[in-house]
Symmetry: C2
Subunit: 360 residues, 2 copies
């Protein structure tokens, strides 16, 4: 017997909500039941432009949607500085929460949001889409394979894109009162998550920001980087920027293997994604070429990664709603680790690039 679809309400009509709305429409176990904006007409136009079901309700304020008893869960693409208020209210209204990243301004806020979800028995997930691509599971298998990858020694990630002048003037990600983490919260969030993936989610011990980050006139980070150190000698570096050509790489090197990927956040193609990996790659006898080269692994997917995220989120919500399961803790756990590293990088920048210890 098939179960009812999970009813998702969209709280805010940000640009990214177009992509997630399509993803909800594509997901076999979820549907959009409502949308809210601070402006009713904007919400109605958004619903019409994004193929919402005719049954979807339109609200001119967030509270009304959060109080709607038909809404099981919400997707919340609001600016970070608004998360504390609205995410907590959503949890208090027993709405499962798919929250846009970065989750919070600091770890205290993070804990308040996730604490509210725990108290109210609702699922928390941040909207980091690429980890739901089946390629990521294949990459994780490689990282966890002692024969093919060995122990991680170093990992380098980057996410840069060349924002246009309009973006650099007006986007929420350059506004201190909206997404105050700037490129660190936006692009850096993914870099940090990728590093944690390669490290099997072991937190680094120490974080040191790179010198000479670029800030805008309001002090929001446009370009920065950091080095992360673990007690066993693992090292990671990342670089995130709004000021350089679109690039997103992971190079992870273990004692026995290496992984390369160049499109880890948004795959080149929607329906398949690749990475290169090599195990005990080697030269020929005279060191004039490679006797063992990395090979390409391509993973196909029927649904785009953002629809797989929604499907997984809705599955967990369904487990809670229909089977009395508890919320899955792994999502808030990896999200919290990402937030901890992010805030440590920011602290290091503010302390003049001093080492900052990470404490769980």
């Amino acid at each position: 017997m098939s179960e009812a679809l999970i009813q998702i309400g969209v709280v805010g009509c940000a640009d990214i909500a177009r992509k997630v709305s399509r993803a909800i429409n594509l997901s076999p176990n979820a549907t959009i039941c409502a949308v809210a904006s601070r402006n009713y007409d904007k919400a109605a136009a958004f619903a019409a432009a994004n193929g919402y079901p005719l049954t979807a309700k339109v609200y001119g304020n967030y509270e009304a949607l959060l109080e709607d008893p038909d809404v099981d869960a919400v997707y919340m693409p609001l600016p970070t500085s608004l998360h504390l208020k609205w995410a907590v209210l959503a949890a208090q209204n027993k709405k499962h929460l798919l929250l846009e990243k970065p989750v919070a301004l600091d770890i205290a806020e993070f804990d308040e949001i996730v604490g509210a979800c725990e108290e109210n028995g609702v699922q928390f997930m941040d909207n980091t889409m690429w980890v739901h691509n089946p390629r990521t599971a294949k990459m994780a298998q490689f990282f966890n394979d002692p024969h093919r990858f060995g122990q991680l020694k170093s990992v380098r990630t980057c996410f840069t894109f060349a924002a246009d002048s309009e973006y650099l003037k007006k986007d929420i990600r350059v506004k201190p009162d909206l997404d105050a983490h700037g490129s660190l919260g936006d692009a850096g969030w993914y870099c940090i998550r990728a590093i944690l993936l390669a490290a099997n989610y072991e937190l680094p011990k120490t974080v040191i920001a790179s010198r000479e980050p670029v800030l805008n006139k309001d002090g929001v980070i446009l370009d920065c980087g950091a080095s992360l150190y673990w007690e066993d000698g693992k090292v990671a570096t990342f670089h995130c920027s709004f000021l350089a050509n679109l690039t997103m790489d992971i190079t992870a090197i273990g004692t026995k293997g290496t992984l390369h990927v160049h499109d880890f956040i948004i795959p080149y193609e929607e329906n398949e994604a690749s990475f290169h990996f090599g195990t005990e790659t080697s030269f020929d006898d005279l060191v004039t070429c490679w006797s063992k080269q990395p090979v390409k692994c391509t993973v196909k997917t029927n649904l785009p990664q953002e629809a797989l995220l929604v499907t997984e989120f809705a599955r967990l919500v369904g487990e809670i709603k229909f089977r009395n399961s508890k919320p899955e803790k792994k999502w808030p756990i990896v999200s919290r680790k990402t937030q901890l590293v992010l805030n440590a990088v920011k602290s290091s920048i503010h302390r003049g690039f001093e080492p900052v210890q990470i404490e769980e």
Copy 2:
């Protein structure tokens, strides 16, 4: 009228000399005329094993080869700590000098070696083979193209390989009295050169070593890294190691373009080499895939890169010998820049990872 081949003497029978001997044999404008070892039998066996011309003379000491008037130029694969003595003596004997890297223990030694070459009017070149691959010229064109690459913003390089226990015990690169720079001098030399290539050979202003380098019991570096900073905000990082799987990457990001290469030092194949580059790469409207992806550029070569190096070296020697040209200065200049950065990284390690200023 064809000119006589440049007569090259090989000073030392290190393992790497096998590869370079083949390269000289492959070069259309050079030939091996002599080989020297501290042990005559070893030199004779080396000549026999490496296809030397029957006319090649065999010497049981380095001095005799350096005094042989038939020798135009020498290839010197001796450990770094022996370079000062033997490279200077070669120059004083008017032998053009192809010297194994790293060139010197410090910049004072470097200047003494290159100064001796200048005083004696002989060509100096270090044995950095990959820069002679025609792929490297194509990469340089990309880096220098304001429309395809723009201004360099960041570049990350690495060269790691998993040395076996025998190497880690006995190789000259782990011995403080032989190649005292360890992995920094060996693998790091290439990483630094690649960074300089991407930066159009502009020296960084400041170098900061990564924390937690790995040293062996004699204090030789097995694994280290650094960040390099330029005044205009460019940033570079590199990582070099004897303790991780074979990997060699460049990721260079400009304001308009990105370059990726995974085999920059030793190409996967001898007869062709590739890199990926993208200009103004971008997403589709919904940010679900890329509307403009990087493309692959493959460059074929009839001779392996080490033979192209020998050919270029012998060409310059021929220009001097037959046409009274002056030695080409670009090779000692880029070599010196590499040495300056290398020694700055080492200073930063010794000063507890403090920033070290680079002064030309």
